[in-house]
């Protein structure tokens, strides 16, 4: 009779059910009974059994119903966990190392070939012009300090156990990582605030225009010795501005999604977010390394812009001539500056 089947039932059932299950509404229950509230019957629940391969054909993860309130637990198998591990443990360390070390090597090469861009003296040297007011500097430094700690604590997730743990031992490293995690989570908020402030404060000066195109064509004055015109922010700085705004926003969004787990998306969504967060993170760090270099070691006199806020007028004249003219025009009535000195950079 029916029991005489020799074939292992699973594979037969799988093939058969795959056809039926495609209908989505479960097996086609024939409504042979008269149209009363008569229920439908079902052939052979044992043979109809679902199995792993069949379910994986239908969806990337296998999930079902669960009676406890923790609906995450209804997800039985999500193989993407292994894929995310592959990315996070093999790809990410290399990408991170390449980006950061690559940038450092690049900057070192640049420094040892081009050297530090010297302050060109002219008659206007020695006098100062206010480049960034108190609030701008406050915002910059808040964001910057937070960024540095976030960067370090962020990198610690990937490189800490590889580089630091062997040195300081697991217990110390664990305590350090614990604090790094707290720092990362809690200093993210001032960082995000800072990003917003910087964006609001400097947006108007960072709209790209023709002057920037010219600036770029001229290689920004780094190659050769020409000094193309530049307003308050030259094209390079605008790139940094938009990069910080863009990456900052991306880091914030992905970070927030991870900070409030499962609020916005399921585990697979969060894996993607974490991937983006890491990739953009290392790129962000690399870019900021360059910004730090050019703003301090790379160019003499540049640090004062954010240090004290008052730059050397000669320096300003060289690098941001149009901005100096506008400033002096705006404050022409003001006594403190002599008019029409060529800016030196």
């Amino acid at each position: 009779m029916r029991r005489g089947r020799t074939l292992i039932r699973t594979f037969v059932a799988a093939a058969m059910l795959a056809g039926v299950a495609g209908a989505g509404a479960g097996p086609a229950l024939a409504q042979t009974a008269p149209p009363t509230t008569a229920p439908t019957t079902a052939p052979n629940p044992t043979a109809e059994s679902v199995n792993e391969d069949l379910l994986f054909k239908q969806a990337p993860t296998i999930g079902g119903r669960i009676s406890i309130p923790d609906q995450k637990a209804a997800n039985l198998i999500q193989p993407q966990g292994r894929e995310w591990r592959g990315f996070h443990e093999t790809w990410m360390p290399w990408i991170g190392a390449a980006a950061i070390l690559g940038m450092v090597v690049l900057l070192a090469l640049f420094y040892f070939t081009r050297g530090r861009i010297r302050l060109e003296h002219s008659e206007e040297s020695g006098r100062k012009i206010l480049r960034f007011n108190g609030f701008e500097r406050f915002t910059h430094w808040m964001t910057a300090t937070c960024f540095i700690i976030l960067a370090l604590s962020g990198l610690n997730y990937i490189f800490g156990k590889r580089l630091l743990m062997p040195v300081i031992g697991p217990d110390a490293f664990a305590t350090l990582s614990q604090w790094a995690k707290y720092a990362h989570v809690y200093l993210a908020w001032p960082f995000m605030l800072g990003i917003i402030f910087m964006f609001v404060v400097w947006l108007k000066d960072n709209i790209p225009n023709r002057i920037d195109v010219a600036w770029i064509k001229a290689g920004g004055g780094i190659i050769g010795d020409k000094h193309p015109h530049a307003e308050r922010f030259n094209a390079g700085q605008k790139v940094v501005f938009w990069m910080v705004a863009g990456f900052g926003a991306a880091m914030s969004v992905t970070g927030l999604v991870m900070l409030f787990p499962f609020a916005a998306t399921d585990i697979n969504g969060m894996q993607v977010m974490q991937g983006i967060h890491s990739l953009i993170g290392v790129a962000f760090i690399a870019a900021i390394l360059a910004h730090i270099y050019i703003g301090s070691l790379g160019m003499e006199g540049a640090y004062d812009a954010m240090g004290s806020g008052k730059v050397d007028l000669a320096w300003a004249r060289v690098h941001h001539d149009l901005w100096v003219e506008k400033e002096q025009a705006r404050t022409a009535s003001g006594p403190q500056l002599r008019a029409h000195q060529a800016p030196a950079e």
Binding site: P69, R137, F138, W141, V185, Y186, P190
Partner: protein, 73 residues
């Protein structure tokens, strides 16, 4: 230099504020996974430590849960 100092102080202040806000909005697993039909008075503290932080070494004083009856794990 003053702006830098203010910036650092502000950053730390906001950080601490954020940590406070986040920890108050933090929810124990037994709160998150119990419904309006359930009154969980003693969720138990084994494996998660007396203050539901996961570390058991901490002082055995206050117990998570509604009443402060002595520890019942």
């Amino acid at each position: 230099m003053k702006a830098f100092a203010v910036a650092v102080i502000c950053a730390v202040a906001i950080g601490i504020a954020a940590s406070y806000v986040l920890s108050t909005s933090q929810r124990y697993a037994w709160q998150a996974f119990s419904t309006s039909s359930a009154r969980v008075s003693h969720p138990g503290t084994n494996l998660v430590g007396p203050r539901w932080t996961g570390d058991v070494k901490g002082p055995h004083d206050e117990v998570a849960g509604e009443t402060t009856a002595p520890k019942r794990s």
